[in-house]
Structures are given as structure tokens and as C-alpha cells.
């Protein structure tokens, strides 16, 4: 019936429409992947459609299609005719390479010709599917939906402009959907249609679709209601940094522009670095010196001068270093290429294994911000990995306690800058906080600790942006008291500067999460969520010391308590051993308390799951599919299972009732459901009519007697058993 339900002309029209819809798929793909030869691929689509239109025998159709694909590949990639010796040779060697690559699951090494081949196979399958949808299902809706989503997605996320394509797809697709619907209705109702009647139905539909589409096309449209998601996605990938968009919500991550701070953050788990180091530590990237009331800028004291640093050369910069013998090495693997180098405190030098690839590799440090970037052939280039040597500075407690307040005027000028408009109450507050503290370090400590109390709260949501007249720090300190690292660190710098301590704002990454532990070295995973900012204050006797005002983060200063006194005033405040920086303080103790063995075991287990994640997911998916399939075909196997279960029971008067009810259940599974209002007898008659026996009536009669009558029924049980088994066999066969 289905075979003859489409005339050739009709199918031809449908296929032409399909051809144009498929073209809408192909155009953006070609466009975006910079693939050429669209005409030849379209020709393949047309060829496939024609073949399925004329129902050419599948062997012939396969031969033609495969021949076309091979010809195409050899012609495009090798420029020779497929049947020439060269062509065959090319095909074979290519095939061999790719099969090997496939076996190794080495996806990057699959060659372009093979990818093209797979692409053709995809088109082939798609056309077969469409053919099935039209001819058998007579419903093209899902394909249409998919097409709209595809073009819509490409239009949104790529530079492809699909605004006209969508109109074309809707127009063609709606006409197709409706005419197939008419076709389906006619088929279902078994109506014989002549051309006139058919046209009477189809023509108004087409007119309607065209009319509606053109009205929709020419009507004025409101601009997009949602912000363009692309910057979002890009910053999620770490490319756009924390650009402020109109909505005021930023994606967390490392960005260059800090001139307007404030606003909420959205978490982002994209991994940016994997750092293999002995301890968890802060990773510094750059510093900024000018506070503008709204954010941070670079004053450009050195006019943007860059200093070249050869790989391995000891870096000369502002920060102090620890003793030579404490030198450690950290290996950084860059997951999301940034062209700057992340620096541990006490950085000595940077080297990279990439030097073998890029002999002209050098590092450049900005003298303004101390940001170190990697350059190849004088152009900023992101490295995939590098190694840093560092010796973490250890501050002598006695030196820190030195009350010297004399500072180098150069440093004073640069790092005591404050905006003119800074409200006086900020300065007053700063003075209040440090009241009674003698040394610069004590003052800085007091300011650092100020944020841990006094009602401040860490949050990334609903964070205010200062208005035109407001000061960012003032707003945070006196009005909101809710914020994240930028609020805390900027405020601390401003407070420090207010009491005459030179300070600067530092950007970089917090320590990240421990993902692997291999002896003395641990691997930390640093994601965009770990992007962080903190404070460096200039303590005259020791130099730049890092401070961490943000709630929930711990400082990683190392202090050598060399003073022979137990009158440490701030013991309550200071737990300043080498604590590892950690954002979520509550989490850490748990992991520390577990014994190494337990740790190892649970880690092994989690590693096992992590490594075999895909296998588990596959197994799960396969399980779900299996359950679904089993459910779908339950009528085929469930009766057999039940029959096997029931058959084992002995069959006598006492088990008869149960056996009969099971029989009813089996019949129901098989699709013979007794309606609630149907008596057993009428149901039995129906069943007997279907199976052409009298067994069901016989069983039913006996059953009815046993449940409705007073007297225990008597019957030949062997006969009942025979009937019962006969029916079970009928059902399960």
C-alpha cells in the first residue's frame, strides 16, 4: 500500500524541496569550515536523491555512490583519475593510514580524505533517513526541527548569517510538512484522490504558508531580547576575559581590563593551568598601581618598556627571594593558552621545553606591571607548558617588626597614589584601624584582619557596581560590605595607602585544586574560578610582602619567628606558618585529617572512575537502551518468563486459582486485556474464538465455580492442566 501511495511526480517535488533544505545545511558547513567544491557535494546529494527516487536496486545504488565518493576524493586530493595507478595507490595508502589511526584511537591523525569520506557517508545516511521519513513515516517534522536548530545555532555562535536561510527553511519545510500531513490523512482515511481534489487541498495550504511567511518576513521585528551569548561563551573558554557586558554579569576568569570593577560573576570551571609543584601556592601574573575610584589602571612609569629575559636567565624584579638552597621547581601545563607566565612567589627563572620547537623563544617582562609574557620571533605566543624555578621568600619576624617607616621616594610616589575624590571617611577608617599599631607590618596586618570581622561577606552574586559619583572602595567598605576578591584587595590597598604604606594590587590565580599526588610533587588544577586578586605592601625593612584580605582565602607568607619572646601580640590573629592558600577553608581540614592510606584508596577508586568515565557512561547508556528495548518488546519475552516461572508449580485444586489468574495476566501481557466490566465467561469466549479452542471456557467455568459457588468444585485436574498448558503454549509461541 505504501509503495504505491506516492506518484513519481509527487516524490520528485518532495525531493526537490529536500534538496534545497539540505543545501541550507551544506552552505554554512562549507562556509565555516572553508571547504570548497560545494557543487560537487550537492551533486552527490542530487545523485542520491535521484537514486532513491527511482528505487534503483541497492547494489547498483551502492556502486554508484561509492564510485562517486572515491572519484571525488581522489580527484580533489590527488588530482588524478581514480582508476589510474596513482589514484588506486593513493586510496590504498590513505585507507591504511586511517585504519591504523582509527585502531589507535588517534583522532588527530585521521587524514582529510578520510574525513571527507566519512562526511559523504553521513550525507548518504541522512538522505536514506529522509527517504524513510517521507515515504514510510510521511512526516518530516523532526528533520525540519533539527534543521532550524542547526541553522539557528550556527547563526548564533558563528559568523554565519542565517537570517534568510531560516526563512527559506521555514517556507519549504512548512509546505512539505503540510502536504505530507494531507497525504497521511488521505492514506489513513483510505480516500481515493484525484488531482483536482488534491490540488484543492494543497494549493490553499501553500498560499497560506506563503502569505503567513511573507507577512512575518515584512513585519517589523524587535531587536534581540537576550544579550548576545557569544561573548559569554568565549569568556567561558577563557578568551574574552572578564569583559563587562551591558548586563553587568561577568564570567569569572583572567582579564586585562580592570578599569571598572564590580558586578556579579558567573562561575566557570574551564581549566586554565595544571601546575606540578611541591606546595599549593598563589600564582602571580601582574600588578597595577593606579586606583581610579572605579578600578585599576597602569600608570606606565616605564612607558610600557619590556625587558627581555632569556629562558633560564635569573629574573631581576621587585620581589624578594628565599635562600638559594630552597629552590624548587614547578612545571606548568597550559590548558587554555594565555601568553603570560604565571609566577610563584620568589620566582628565579623560566624555561620551556618548547625551546626545541621555537629556538627564538624568549620571555618579556613588562617593567610596569611585572607581567612576563612569552615571545617567539618577537611576537607574543602562548606556550603549552613551561617550568619555573623559585625560592619562596621567608620573612624574618624581627625584620617585619622593624618600625622603620622610611621609604624610597620613588616607591612612595608611585604606590601611595590615591584618587582626589576618595571620601575622607575611608582615610578616617584607615587611621582608626591602625590605631595603636607601631610598625608598618603591624598596621598592614591590622588592615588585613579588619576584613575578617566587621560584617564583611564573600559573595559573587549581586555585587554592586559603583555609580558615576561613587567610589568603588567607599561603596564596599561602608555600604555593601559584600563582595569578592577585587573588593577586598582594592579596599586593602586603598586603606594601606591612606596610612602611608605603599601598596599595589596584584592579579593572578589562587592555588587551585589538588588533582594528583605523586610523591613530593602534587598537581594542582587551576580553573577560571581561581582567578584572584590580592595585595602586596611595601614594608621598608623587607620589601614587598603579600597580603590576603579576602574572606575564605589564606595568605601564604612564610615567616621565620626569630624573636626570642613569647609576647606576640597578634598570636590570636596570626596563624602564619606556611599555610596553603585555599579558597574554601572549611573543605581543607577534612582532606588533611584522612590518613594517607585512606586517601590513597579513595583516590585510587576515584582515579579508576575518572579514567574509565567514558566506559561507565557508555555502560550506563547501553543499560538504559537495553531496558528501553526490553520494555518495548516486553510482549515478546515477558510471557515466556512468566510461563517458565508458573510452569514449575504443581497444578492442583489449591493452586488452580493462582494459575488461572496468572493466565489472565499473561493474556494481558500479550495484549488481550479483559475490561473491568467484562465477565470472565464472555472474555473466555473471546479468547476461545481467537485461539479456536474451548480450553479457556473450560478453565473459566471451573474457576467461576470455585470462586462464586459455595461448594468446592470438582473437576478432572489433569484435564485442567492440559487446557492451561495448551493456552500457555499458545500465548508464548
Amino acid at each position: 500500500m505504501i509503495k504505491n501511495s506516492f506518484s513519481l511526480i509527487e516524490l520528485l517535488i518532495y525531493y526537490i524541496v529536500i534538496f534545497f533544505i539540505l543545501r541550507e545545511w551544506l552552505v554554512p558547513i562549507m562556509d565555516l569550515t572553508k571547504t570548497g567544491y560545494m557543487e560537487l557535494i550537492l551533486l552527490f546529494i542530487a545523485l542520491s536523491l535521484v537514486i532513491s527516487l527511482f528505487r534503483i536496486h541497492f547494489i547498483a545504488s551502492w556502486l554508484v555512490k561509492v564510485a562517486y565518493i572515491l572519484w571525488f576524493i581522489v580527484f580533489i586530493y590527488d588530482g588524478v583519475f581514480v582508476l589510474s595507478a596513482e589514484g588506486i595507490d593513493f586510496l590504498f595508502s590513505d585507507f591504511q593510514t586511517n585504519i591504523e589511526a582509527l585502531m589507535r584511537a588517534d583522532w588527530p591523525h585521521i587524514t582529510d580524505p578520510f574525513r571527507t569520506f566519512l562526511f559523504f557517508i553521513l550525507i548518504w545516511m541522512l538522505i536514506y533517513l529522509i527517504h524513510h521519513w517521507i515515504v514510510v513515516r510521511m512526516n518530516i517534522f523532526y528533520f525540519l526541527l533539527l534543521t532550524v536548530f542547526f541553522v539557528g545555532a550556527l547563526d548564533t555562535f558563528t559568523e554565519y548569517d542565517g537570517s534568510l536561510a531560516i526563512v527559506r527553511i521555514m517556507l519549504l519545510g512548512l509546505i512539505m510538512t503540510v502536504s505530507l500531513l494531507i497525504k497521511r490523512l488521505i492514506n489513513n482515511a483510505n480516500i481515493k484522490m484525484d488531482l483536482m481534489k488534491y490540488l484543492k487541498l494543497v494549493v490553499p495550504v501553500i498560499l497560506l504558508v506563503v502569505a503567513v511567511s511573507s507577512i512575518a518576513f515584512f513585519l517589523p521585528k524587535s531587536p534581540p531580547q537576550w544579550p548576545d551569548p557569544v561573548p559569554f561563551i568565549k569568556s567561558a573558554a577563557g578568551k574574552g576575559g572578564s569583559e563587562v557586558d551591558e548586563g553587568g554579569i561577568k564570567k569569572v576568569g583572567y582579564g586585562d581590563n580592570d578599569s571598572r570593577l564590580g558586578g556579579s560573576f558567573v562561575a566557570d570551571d574551564t581549566v586554565v593551568f595544571l601546575a606540578e609543584a611541591s606546595t599549593k601556592q598563589y600564582w602571580r601574573v601582574e600588578t597595577k598601581d593606579v586606583y581610579t575610584s572605579k578600578g585599576w589602571e597602569d600608570a606606565g612609569y616605564s612607558q610600557g618598556e619590556l625587558r627581555a629575559i632569556a629562558p633560564g636567565e635569573t629574573i631581576d624584579y621587585s620581589l624578594p627571594r628565599g635562600p638559594e638552597e630552597d629552590t624548587k621547581t614547578a612545571t606548568i601545563q597550559v590548558m587554555d593558552p594565555y601568553d603570560f607566565v604565571i609566577q610563584p612567589y620568589g620566582l628565579k627563572n623560566v624555561t620551556s621545553a618548547m625551546m626545541s620547537v621555537h629556538p627564538n623563544l624568549e620571555f618579556m617582562m613588562s617593567l610596569d606591571t611585572e607581567k612576563i609574557m612569552s615571545y617567539v620571533d618577537r611576537a607574543p605566543t602562548a606556550l603549552t607548558g613551561y617550568t619555573v624555578e623559585y625560592s619562596k621568600p621567608v620573612f624574618q619576624y624581627s625584620a617585619l617588626k622593624d618600625p622603620t617607616e622610611e621609604i624610597d621616594p620613588m616607591i612612595g610616589e608611585r604606590y601611595l597614589q590615591l584618587p582626589e575624590a576618595l571620601p575622607d571617611r575611608v582615610k578616617d577608617l584607615a587611621t582608626d584601624i591602625v590605631e595603636g599599631r607601631e610598625t608598618p607590618y603591624d598596621k598592614a596586618r591590622a588592615i588585613e584582619m579588619y576584613f575578617k570581622q566587621n560584617g564583611f561577606r564573600y559573595d559573587t552574586d549581586n555585587i554592586a557596581i559603583p555609580s558615576e559619583e561613587q567610589d568603588y572602595v567607599d561603596q564596599f567598605l561602608f555600604e555593601t560590605k559584600i563582595g569578592y576578591c577585587d573588593n577586598f584587595s582594592t579596599s586593602m590597598v586603598v586603606l594601606l595607602r591612606s596610612v602611608g604604606i605603599p601598596a599595589r594590587w596584584v592579579k593572578g590565580f589562587a592555588g587551585g585544586d589538588l588533582v594528583d599526588n605523586n610523591g613530593s610533587m602534587s598537581t594542582y588544577q587551576i580553573t577560571n574560578n581561581d582567578a584572584h586578586s590580592w595585595v602586596e605592601a611595601y614594608i621598608p625593612s623587607v620589601g614587598w610582602v603579600n597580603f590576603e584580605p579576602t574572606i575564605g582565602f589564606n595568605s601564604s607568607r612564610s615567616i621565620d619567628y626569630d624573636l626570642e619572646t613569647d609576647a606576640y601580640q597578634e598570636d590570636a590573629l596570626t596563624i602564619e606558618e606556611e599555610t596553603e592558600p585555599d579558597e574554601v577553608v572549611e573543605e581543607e581540614p577534612e582532606t588533611q585529617q584522612t590518613t594517607p592510606q585512606e586517601n590513597r584508596l579513595s583516590k585510587n577508586i576515584s582515579d579508576f572512575f575518572e579514567q574509565n568515565k567514558f566506559i561507565f557512561m557508555l555502560l550506563l547508556a547501553a543499560g538504559i537502551v537495553c531496558v528501553f528495548v526490553l520494555y518495548k518488546i516486553r510482549r515478546k519475552w515477558l510471557p515466556k518468563v512468566y510461563a517458565a516461572l508458573y510452569r514449575r508449580k504443581d497444578f492442583n485444586e489449591s493452586t488452580f486459582e493462582a494459575a488461572f489468574l496468572q493466565l489472565l495476566k499473561l493474556l494481558e501481557l500479550k495484549g488481550f486485556k479483559r475490561k473491568d466490566g467484562q465477565t470472565l465467561q464472555t472474555f473466555a469466549k473471546e479468547m476461545d474464538a481467537y485461539f479456536e479452542t474451548g480450553h479457556m471456557s473450560r478453565l473459566t467455568k471451573f474457576y467461576e465455580q470455585s470462586i462464586y459457588s459455595k461448594n468446592a468444585s470438582k473437576a478432572d485436574m489433569s484435564q485442567m492442566k492440559e487446557s492451561w498448558e495448551y493456552l500457555i503454549n499458545q500465548i508464548t509461541s
Binding site: 489472565l664 473491568d676 466490566g677 465477565t679 464472555t682 470462586i707 462464586y708 459455595k710
Partner: protein, 314 residues
């Protein structure tokens, strides 16, 4: 089928052509001690049916033709002063008999109708404080013309409830009608009818019917159906508990007729339209929409849940 019942029905079938179901249902009523209301247009054989039935069981047959001017005393009898004995003497009316045909019951006044129906219910007549018990079997078969006909007094609901079953005769098929003509062209077949069973045997059968077992699950099924009639939007008044009793008794009789000593839900389902049909009162708007009580009952049956386990196990 029960042998004696089969004999009665076969006997009736000798005179009534193609009316086996009506005959069966009449026997159901007879066996369970109820009364039957036959509703149909004149001339389809209602009277013949009753006569045949009476003759088949060897019972005394009496007929009351109801007219608008019929008085209650014409039905139940009068006390007459006997000058000889100087006493009032009770002369029983035609109601005192075994099988009574109350023909065109809706043509008479409600007063007379109720006199008949009261004696039907109590199986006795009372005149001047004197009660006369009517001997068993007492079986009234009333006929009525469809209510829409002019000059009729529709029976009140309370009275209708006294009939166990309401049966419609219906026209015979063309073939059957030809057969009717063929038979009546000879002598009247009713004349030659002989009793299939004796009155005593009938009384015995009636006793046996009362002993037919009905499982609690089936009883609850009857109640389920009865209660369902009370919760339907088109129905003004559902059936009474008396109707549930009637359905149970009728089902017992029907089971007995099938030579079975227990009642099945099948029996209940089969009889429900005849027992409930005349007891359900539809709302006027439903009636105007053409809903019939038979439809309501069959809908209830379809929606009902048959007990397929013992009562205790449910």
C-alpha cells in the same frame, strides 16, 4: 438449562414465536416470586404470553381488563350482604388467583392501580378489616402501552418499583410474523396447550431458587451497580435497595434456570437492564436528549469492576 424450566419455555414457544427471551425473563420473575410489567403496543402477543404461561404451569389464570372507570372493588372484591345469613360476605375479586393478567394497567385511574399494586406487594387483599391471603404461586403480569399514548395514567414511581422486571415485547421479525400467520390460520394453538409442570412442582422450584448460593463478592457487585445508578448526572433518581434485592432474587432464579446452584456476575449483568430499567428516573433534559435508561444501565455495566476473586481475597 434446567429441565422443568426448559419444558415451560418450550411450551410457551409453541404459541409464541420468536419470543424466547421474553418467555425466559417471565419465568425468571415467576420463579423468584416477582411480577412482570410488559410494555408494548397492543397486538404483539402480551396476553397470549401470559395465557400460555398460566397454562404451562397448570395455574389458575385470571384477567383484569383495566379501563378508566374500573374501581378498586372490581379488582380486589366486595363484601356483599347476604340476606340468608344476615351477614356481609366477602366476594374476592379477580386478583385472588395464581396468574393474573392485568391488561393495560395504565388505562385505569391511579386509585385502582394502587389497589392492584398493594395487593401485589403483600400477596393479600384487605376489605373491611378482613385480610385474605392469596395462595402461592401468585404472579401478576401487567401490560401497559407506552406512556406516550393518549388517555393513559402513567404509573407512579413507587408503584413501578413493585414490578421485578419490565420487559418489552417488540415486533416479531418478518419471518416470524409469517409463521404467526401460518399458525393462526389453523385453530388457536393455545387451546391445545397442556401443563408442562404442576403447581406443586412450581412451588418446589421457587423454594429451590431461594437456596441458590450467591457469593458475597457477587452481592457486592450488585450493590456496586445499584450505587452507580445514584451517581449519574443524567439520572434524577437512582434505584432503591429494593431494586438491589430484586436483582439478587432475579439473578438467583436465572442461575437456577441455567441449572446452576450459584450466581455468576454474568447473571447479574444480563438481568440488570430489566430490573433497573424502569426504576431509574431520568432528568427531563436527559430524556429530551434521547438518553434511555437502558443506555445508562449498559454504561454502568461497562464501567463496573467484575469480582474475579473470592470476596475475602479482594
Amino acid at each position: 438449562m434446567h429441565k422443568q424450566v426448559e419444558a415451560i419455555i418450550e411450551n410457551i414457544e409453541k404459541v409464541m414465536i420468536g419470543k424466547r427471551e421474553v418467555a425466559e425473563l417471565s419465568v425468571v420473575a415467576l420463579l423468584s416470586g416477582g411480577h412482570v410489567l410488559l410494555e408494548d403496543v397492543p397486538g404483539v402477543g402480551k396476553t397470549m404470553m401470559v395465557k400460555a404461561m398460566a397454562k404451562s404451569v397448570g395455574a389458575e389464570f385470571k384477567r383484569i381488563q383495566f379501563t378508566p372507570d374500573l374501581l378498586p372493588s372490581d379488582v380486589i372484591g366486595v363484601s356483599i350482604y347476604n340476606p340468608k345469613t344476615l351477614q356481609f360476605e366477602f366476594r374476592p375479586g379477580p386478583i385472588v388467583g395464581n396468574i393474573i393478567l392485568a391488561d393495560e394497567i395504565n388505562r385505569t385511574s391511579p386509585k385502582t392501580q394502587s389497589a392492584l399494586l398493594e395487593s401485589m406487594e403483600e400477596a393479600s387483599v384487605t376489605i373491611d378489616g378482613e385480610t385474605l391471603q392469596i395462595r402461592r404461586p401468585f404472579f401478576v403480569m401487567a401490560t401497559q402501552n407506552p406512556i406516550e399514548y393518549e388517555g393513559t395514567y402513567p404509573l407512579p414511581e413507587a408503584q413501578l418499583d413493585r414490578f421485578l422486571l419490565k420487559i418489552k415485547m417488540g415486533y416479531p421479525s418478518a419471518q416470524e410474523e409469517v409463521e404467526v400467520l401460518r399458525r393462526s390460520s389453523n385453530s388457536e394453538p393455545i387451546v391445545h396447550l397442556t401443563p408442562a409442570i404442576s403447581l406443586d412442582e412450581l412451588l418446589e422450584l421457587q423454594d429451590e431458587v431461594r437456596n441458590v448460593y450467591i457469593e458475597d463478592s457477587v452481592k457486592s457487585y450488585i450493590v456496586q451497580l445499584a450505587r452507580a445508578t445514584r451517581n449519574i448526572s443524567e439520572v434524577y433518581l437512582g434505584v432503591s435497595p429494593r431494586a438491589s434485592i430484586a436483582l439478587m432474587k432475579a439473578s438467583q432464579a436465572y442461575a437456577k434456570m441455567q441449572d446452576r446452584d450459584f450466581v455468576k456476575p454474568d447473571d447479574v449483568q444480563y438481568l440488570a437492564p430489566f430490573v433497573f430499567g424502569h426504576r431509574i428516573i431520568l432528568k427531563p433534559e436527559a430524556r429530551y436528549e434521547g438518553v434511555t435508561t437502558d443506555e445508562i444501565v449498559s454504561r454502568i455495566i461497562q464501567k463496573s469492576v467484575i469480582p474475579i476473586k473470592r470476596f475475602a481475597e479482594q
